[in-house]
């Protein structure tokens, strides 16, 4: 192996490569392309993963939205089509009795799922916006990006404070430009509320958008006389809990409580966010795996192309090899040179590909940076993957180099010299 590190060996190799620029260029294009695709695909998959991670940041992804509907079967002396309204006490019941539930956030809302949106008035300006009665814990389900002021807190709940947090659109529509809304009063359904915060739209919110108003749950109850009824609840499971099973258990419990037939699928509506999120993560994982497989296969194809071209050039160089052997080159030296040429070309192409891939990812990143609703962030490739790609290239490069190398030494010098 000593010959790998001697200057002379490399001079021979560089000589052979430099004097055959065209062949060298064609040879490395395959591997260059392969590794470029590998890097870009990996980076893109990673960027997508990062993008989704970022979008779901500060979000209880392992959660279910649950609301009451109308029964689909008669049960317990009740007719079908009985409306079910969930109550506040259900949240504690679920939180305490169902295993694996982290917390439950009840919500009340006006202006969502049909129903007229309440009128919100500030002086001469007014508009209809969705109004949510919330506990502070809702922030744990989907973190509100607070731009100014603060979000709801427990004291607001305890003291039934008439305060509100408004969305950015509400701000621009009800207030003058440059006007500070914090501390000002606006009228919601004819009740004055003090603005304590402004939130920014979060792309992963389902309902809020940027045109909603949050008020304390307890205040909502008084203003809209909703009693103990809630519009829906969000049930968050622990991160590694099987959320589908939690959903089943919660529904079973609620069916018992509201005398609903155990097989009635219509009484409670739900959206299993955990399941959806699982599908997205699964999709990203699948994407990464596909990228890996495609990338490696492309590298493989590129390396095979190198072997192929080397094989052709060995045939072209039969005479040169014959001369070298007549001058005293041992078969080992010839073989070593061809294999080293193969590995060197592979690595050269690989390095070029990795660099170009990195630059491409940078470009992609800067292009997509300002696209808010495109889940793509920091497309990177881990050093392990690059190391693995290089290792694959060296291994395959030397393996594939063996074929032309063996061919080169199998030609007897006399035959090589006779060839004109």
């Amino acid at each position: 192996m000593k010959f790998i590190f001697t200057r002379d060996t490399w001079q021979e190799i560089f000589g052979a490569i430099r004097k055959n620029k065209m062949r060298t260029a064609i040879t490395i294009i395959g591997v260059f392309w392969g590794i470029l695709l590998f890097i870009v695909l990996q980076g893109a998959a990673k960027g997508m993963e990062n993008g989704f991670d970022n979008a779901f940041k500060g979000m209880a992804t392992n959660s279910i939205f649950l609301w009451g509907q109308q029964t689909g079967m008669p049960h317990g002396g009740f007719n079908r089509n009985r409306s079910i309204r969930l109550e506040l006490s259900d949240t504690d019941r679920i939180a305490n009795q169902i295993e694996g539930v982290d917390f439950v956030a009840p919500r009340n809302a006006r202006g969502v799922f049909g129903g007229a949106a309440p009128l919100v008035v500030n002086d001469t300006k007014s508009g209809s916006y969705k109004v949510f009665g919330d506990y502070p814990i809702i922030d744990k389900i989907a973190r509100k990006k607070i731009r100014k002021g603060r979000f709801l807190n427990q004291k607001d709940i305890d003291e039934n404070r008439k305060i509100c947090v408004i969305g950015e659109r509400v701000l621009t529509e009800l207030f003058d430009k440059d006007e500070d809304p914090i501390g000002q009063y606006i009228k919601i359904s004819n009740v004055y509320f003090q603005v304590v915060g402004v939130y920014k739209e979060n792309t992963t919110d389902f309902f809020e958008g940027d045109d909603s108003v949050f008020i304390p749950f307890t205040t909502f109850k008084k203003v809209y006389n909703s009693g103990n009824r809630i519009s829906w609840m969000v049930i968050a499971g622990y991160p590694d809990e099987d959320i589908v099973q939690v959903e089943t258990k919660v529904k079973a419990l609620l069916k018992r409580r509201y005398s609903v037939h155990p097989d009635d699928e219509r009484a409670f509506g739900s959206a299993n966010f955990g399941e959806m999120f699982g599908k997205i993560t699964g999709f990203v994982k699948g994407l990464k795996f596909t990228a890996l497989v495609v990338g490696i296969a492309t590298i493989l194809a590129g390396v095979i192309a190198i072997g192929n071209i080397l094989l052709i050039t060995v045939k072209e160089r039969t005479k040169e090899i014959g001369i070298r052997r007549a001058l005293g080159a041992t078969p080992g030296e010839i073989r070593g040179q061809i294999i080293l040429e193969s590995v060197f070309l592979t690595l050269l192409a690989g390095t070029l590909g990795i660099t170009t891939g990195g630059v491409s990812l940078r470009l992609i990143n800067s292009i997509t940076q300002n696209l808010d609703d495109f889940p793509f962030l920091n497309p990177t490739v881990s050093i392990q993957y690059i190391g693995m790609a290089l290792l694959i290239m060296i291994t395959l490069g030397s393996l594939i180099g063996l074929i032309p190398a063996q061919r080169a030494v199998s030609v007897r010098p006399i035959e090589a010299l006779r060839e004109e």
């Binding site: 055959n20 001369i323 070298r324 007549a326 005293g328 041992t330 004109e420």
Partner: protein, 233 residues
């Protein structure tokens, strides 16, 4: 220097067997200048290839500088070729992407000689063949005679015991042929053993001994009065 005893060689072409060498006995002393002559098919090239360890004999013995040449592995043959023999070919066989100096240095590279000495030696031998000024030219920039002189310099560079020339003037015009022969004669004058395969009688007359081959046998083996090529140059 070279002792060949009852050497046989045959080639198999399908079901036909072509008996090329039918018992050659040849003894070449150090410092001799021998030409092997014969019509095509007489086996002269085959004999040279066997002497050059580029081909193997079927039967008989071959001793080169007191080393019996038999059952050689490819690796060992390469080492012996490098150490004992210098080749000169009809078609020069220079590596076309290496310049003259690099071509001359190539056998030294395979001897594992350091770069510096390789460079010195290659320049020394190019000087010897009068091509020092052409050291950095590619073969394509040289004339036929110059190419052959580079090839001779290359053959000499490894300081071999025996110089083997296969039709060295076959691709050259008469004038250049004589120039090349002049070189070979001066090298021989310095004591180098040289073996030339040729079918040109005038070239053969410039050596000191002519071995006539016919149908795989030695027809005639005679010492001749050497004609100096310099008188034509």
């Amino acid at each position: 220097m070279i002792q060949i005893d009852e050497l046989h060689k045959s080639y198999h072409m399908g079901s036909n067997e072509l008996h090329v060498l039918k018992g050659i006995n040849l003894d070449i002393k150090e410092g001799e200048f021998v030409s092997i002559m014969g019509s095509s098919g007489s086996g002269k090239s085959t004999l040279l290839n066997i002497i050059g360890m580029l081909d193997l004999a079927d039967k008989g013995s071959y001793v080169l500088d007191n080393v019996p040449i038999k059952n050689l592995s490819e690796k060992k043959a390469a080492v012996y070729r490098n150490k004992f023999l210098g080749f000169i070919f009809q078609s020069f066989n220079l590596i076309n992407y290496k310049n003259a100096a690099e071509n001359v240095a190539l056998p030294l590279y395979y001897q594992g000689i350091s770069r510096k000495i390789r460079k010195e030696k290659s320049l020394y031998y190019l000087e010897k063949v009068g091509l020092a000024d052409w050291a950095h030219h590619l073969p394509s920039e040289l004339s036929g005679g110059q190419k052959q002189r580079v090839a001779i310099a290359r053959a000499l560079a490894s300081e071999p015991k025996v110089l083997l020339a296969d039709e060295p003037t076959g691709a050259l015009d008469t004038k250049t042929s004589y120039e090349v022969m002049d070189f070979l004669q001066s090298i021989n004058d310095e004591g180098k053993t040289i073996l030339v395969v040729t079918h040109e009688p005038d070239i053969a007359d410039m050596t000191k001994r002519i071995v006539m081959l016919k149908d795989g046998r030695i027809l005639e083996d005679k010492k001749v009065e050497q004609i100096r090529a310099s008188q034509y140059v």
